[in-house]
């Protein structure tokens, strides 16, 4: 008799495949509950969300664009795309990771509290990272920094010993390179 593997009864059998991170752009009707449908799909089916951003992008057409960073085996990623496309208000799903070269950016606001040399060091580093000061008081700065996630991670890490108070991040937005739209 062959050995029985407890996980084989369910799609968990695909764990033998490597887990990949993909960035999906999802064009949806901007109607009430649409975000709940998308998030509910991920939680209900046990998919991961590493990052999710959403905003209306075409006002006249009432279209919003959701950018989701998710993880899974290739089979699961295909499922996620198909399941998203099944939702009635979803117009299109594009897997940016496989669709071709694309850009990913994130914006963060970073609050740092400190005085004297610490404060000056924070400002120098901000300059090196091309972060802008968008609020200042005698004992604090708020920096605005844009870039790829790892750049923001590095900047935030540098701010910890300099009096990091808090960080607010948008999550990743993505767009394809070149002249074509999604």
């Amino acid at each position: 008799m062959t050995a029985v593997n407890a996980t084989t009864h369910y799609p968990a059998a695909t764990v033998s495949e490597a887990v990949e991170t993909h960035t999906l752009s999802v064009l949806v009707d901007n109607e009430p509950g649409v975000l709940a449908r998308v998030i509910g799909l991920f939680s209900g089916r046990g998919y991961n969300i590493d990052s999710l951003t959403v905003s209306e992008t075409e006002h006249e057409k009432h279209l919003s664009r959701i950018t989701i960073v998710t993880r899974g085996t290739p089979m699961v990623i295909e499922q996620i795309k198909n399941q998203l496309e099944r939702l009635v208000p979803v117009h299109r799903v594009v897997d940016m990771t496989v669709a071709g070269p694309h850009l990913e950016r994130e914006l963060a606001m970073v609050k740092v509290r400190g005085k004297g040399e610490q404060r000056m060091e924070a400002l120098r580093l901000a300059d090196a990272f091309r972060a802008r000061v968008i609020d200042a008081s005698t004992e604090s700065f708020v920096f605005e920094i844009t870039g790829a996630s790892d750049k923001i991670e590095s900047f935030v890490a540098l701010m910890i010993p300099l009096g990091l108070v808090e960080v607010s991040r948008t999550g990743i937005v993505a767009i394809a390179r070149g002249p074509e739209g999604m």
Binding site: H9, R37, G40, Q79, Q83, V88
Partner: protein, 586 residues
């Protein structure tokens, strides 16, 4: 028609225009304006159920036996939450429904008002789509859109939540011409190149097999006709899921019977050993595949499904074809004919010989008794007595359901209504009410278990109220039989709470409902009792007292492969049958 009217009247107008003849429902505070509108018209007939779950199952039975959209009307709060089981059932089995729920007035939403619940929030994961209507202007569009979404593509239930103030509000009603959602465009035609590739693969198959499912039924009677034609043309064997029974004639020699956990020996071995699998309108569910890494290891797989998310979900296939079964089958039949494709005759003969060998195992055989009624025998006799009539069968969930699938032989689609995906005990009785309404002259039988049927027994009252002569044929073994069977195989025969110590007297219960009660306890009396049941033109509860210890075989225990199935008379040691790992699965 463009005309000013109230929201409540719009609901009726849209239902009537969509061809709804019967609306299953239960009134309450938040739908009173719609009930008032119903009262003042005769186009839509309201069927008063006894519980909202019953309304949804009745609508499911109606939809499945007619191919039309089932319609339901319930109130807010508990009305909506009681409908959730039915909605989930319809989603799992792809049944088209439009369920209209009342809601508290818009200014009270979110206020924890009396009988308020977040209906769209609760039903979001158990519907194909849902709406909360917040202005009278969008109500006509939403109502018609709901029907479009429910019946197109892969069918499913749609909820329209209508606050009470919207029901009172006046607006302009017209039937919208265009469908608004740009993203919702189900693909009907399959990719021709892939269909050609599929035909090519089939033409060179040595051990081919059709594996079909509920998608054929949902696609309409034409799909069943095309399937029959194609199966005949190719000479290939065919098996089907529980949901697909009736799409192909069970009396045909090419039919191998149902496959899966309680499928026949020949169907499951053919699945395991085939070299080309043609899956049409089925979804590689875990009841079908058993152990995934041992599922049909040597086959190349063609998968036709209207829902792209069903493809490559559990099992990777070689030729995926997204499209409606009837459309794709039409292309397949045409291509098979035009390319004069013929199967590998010699290999096919050898394959059939092998299949006949499996068939000779007679996997459905059981030891009959002249003292106790064997449940299999009861269904065989029921089949013999009803096969030449215009008969529709519904079931509850459990052993009786599997025996019905094995021993009742379906020749036509839309004759078999059972809760497959969700496995809802209590489905069959209300479903039979819906079927009987749609087919008043036909014989409608719910093959039931005594435990399941008690979950929705109150709908007997509905059947009596509307003179619906449904026959509730209870295979009564006093156990939740399938639970008991698993406890026997998996849990050392410790029958924790699967025995019902106090059951009602079903004959007296029938009489209390003003229906007819019949009890049968001896095999010799069975034919006469069944004949009596059929002759009575009133609702009947038939208490068929059967052998309490009978188990449902063949069986593929959880976590096992198709070629590791158990047979009833094989003398399997129960503790041996299931592995430790298999116990964690259901």
């Amino acid at each position: 028609m463009t005309k000013e009217m109230t929201g409540a009247d719009m609901v009726i107008a849209a239902l009537a225009e969509q061809g709804v003849e019967h609306l299953f429902g239960y009134p309450g505070g938040a739908v009173l304006p719609i009930y008032d509108a119903l009262f003042q018209q005769e186009r839509v007939k309201h069927i008063l159920v006894r519980h909202e779950q019953g309304a949804v199952h009745a609508a499911e039975g109606y939809a499945r036996s007619t191919g039309k959209v089932g319609a339901v009307l319930v109130t807010s709060g508990p009305g909506a939450t009681n409908a959730v089981t039915g909605l989930t059932d319809a989603l799992c089995d792809s049944i088209p429904l439009v369920v209209i729920t009342g809601q508290v007035p818009t200014h009270l939403i979110g206020n924890d008002a009396f009988q308020e619940c977040d209906t769209v929030g609760i039903t979001r994961p158990c519907t194909k789509h849902n709406y909360l209507v917040k202005s009278i202007a969008e109500l006509p569009r939403v109502l018609h859109e709901a029907f479009h979404i429910a019946k197109s593509g892969r069918p499913g239930p749609v909820v329209v939540d209508v606050p009470k103030d919207i029901q009172f509000a006046k607006g302009v009603y017209s039937r919208p011409k265009d469908f608004q959602h740009q993203g919702y465009r189900p693909k009907l035609k399959g990719d021709l190149d892939r269909i050609k590739a599929a035909i090519e693969l089939m033409r060179h198959a040595k051990r081919p097999l059709f594996y079909t499912g509920g998608g054929i039924i949902n696609s309409g009677p034409e799909a069943s006709q095309l399937l029959r034609e194609f199966v005949k043309l190719t000479g290939f064997p065919i098996t089907s899921t529980l949901m697909g029974l009736g799409a192909y004639k069970a009396s045909d020699p090419q039919w191998l019977g149902m496959l899966g956990m309680h499928g026949t020996w020949e169907a499951n071995w053919a699945m395991h050993d085939c070299d080309v699998m043609i899956c049409i309108g089925a979804r590689f569910d875990d009841r079908i595949t058993g152990r995934l890494d041992a599922f049909s290891p040597g086959s190349r797989k063609i998968h036709v499904d209207i829902d792209p998310s069903s493809i490559n979900k559990n099992v990777k296939v070689d030729i995926p074809i997204v499209g409606d079964c009837a459309h794709v089958l039409e292309d397949m039949v045409r291509l098979w004919r035009s390319t004069a494709a013929s199967a590998e005759r010699k290999a096919l003969d050898a394959w059939w010989k092998q299949i006949e060998g499996w068939r000779a195992r007679k996997s459905l055989a059981y030891k009959n008794s002249n003292k106790l009624i064997k449940p299999q025998y009861a269904i065989e006799r029921l089949y013999a007595a009803t096969k030449d009539r215009d008969t529709y069968i519904t079931t509850e969930v459990g052993q009786h359901q599997m025996w019905a699938a094995q021993f009742y032989r379906f020749e036509e689609p839309n004759r078999w209504m059972t809760s497959g995906g969700l496995g809802t005990m209590g489905y069959g009785l209300p479903a039979s009410v819906g079927v009987q309404l749609a087919h008043p002259k036909s014989l409608v039988i719910d093959i039931a278990g005594e435990a399941s049927v008690l979950m929705t027994m109150q709908e007997m009252s509905t059947a009596v109220q509307y003179d619906l002569p449904v026959k509730i044929f209870i295979i009564n073994n006093q156990y939740m039989g399938m639970v008991r069977q698993w406890q026997e195989l998996l849990h050392g025969g410790r029958y924790a709470h699967s025995y019902t110590e106090a059951l009602p007297d079903f004959v007296k219960l029938a009489e209390a409902y003003h229906a007819v009660g019949i009890r049968c306890e001896r095999p010799g009396d069975l034919d006469g009792a069944i004949a009596e049941m059929i002759e009575v033109n009133r609702p009947v509860i038939f208490d068929c007292v059967v052998d309490q210890n009978e188990n449902c075989f063949p069986m593929i225990p959880s976590g096992r492969a198709h070629n590791e199935m158990l047979l009833g008379d094989a003398g399997v040691e129960p503790e041996d049958a299931v592995t430790e790992q298999g116990k964690v699965m259901v």
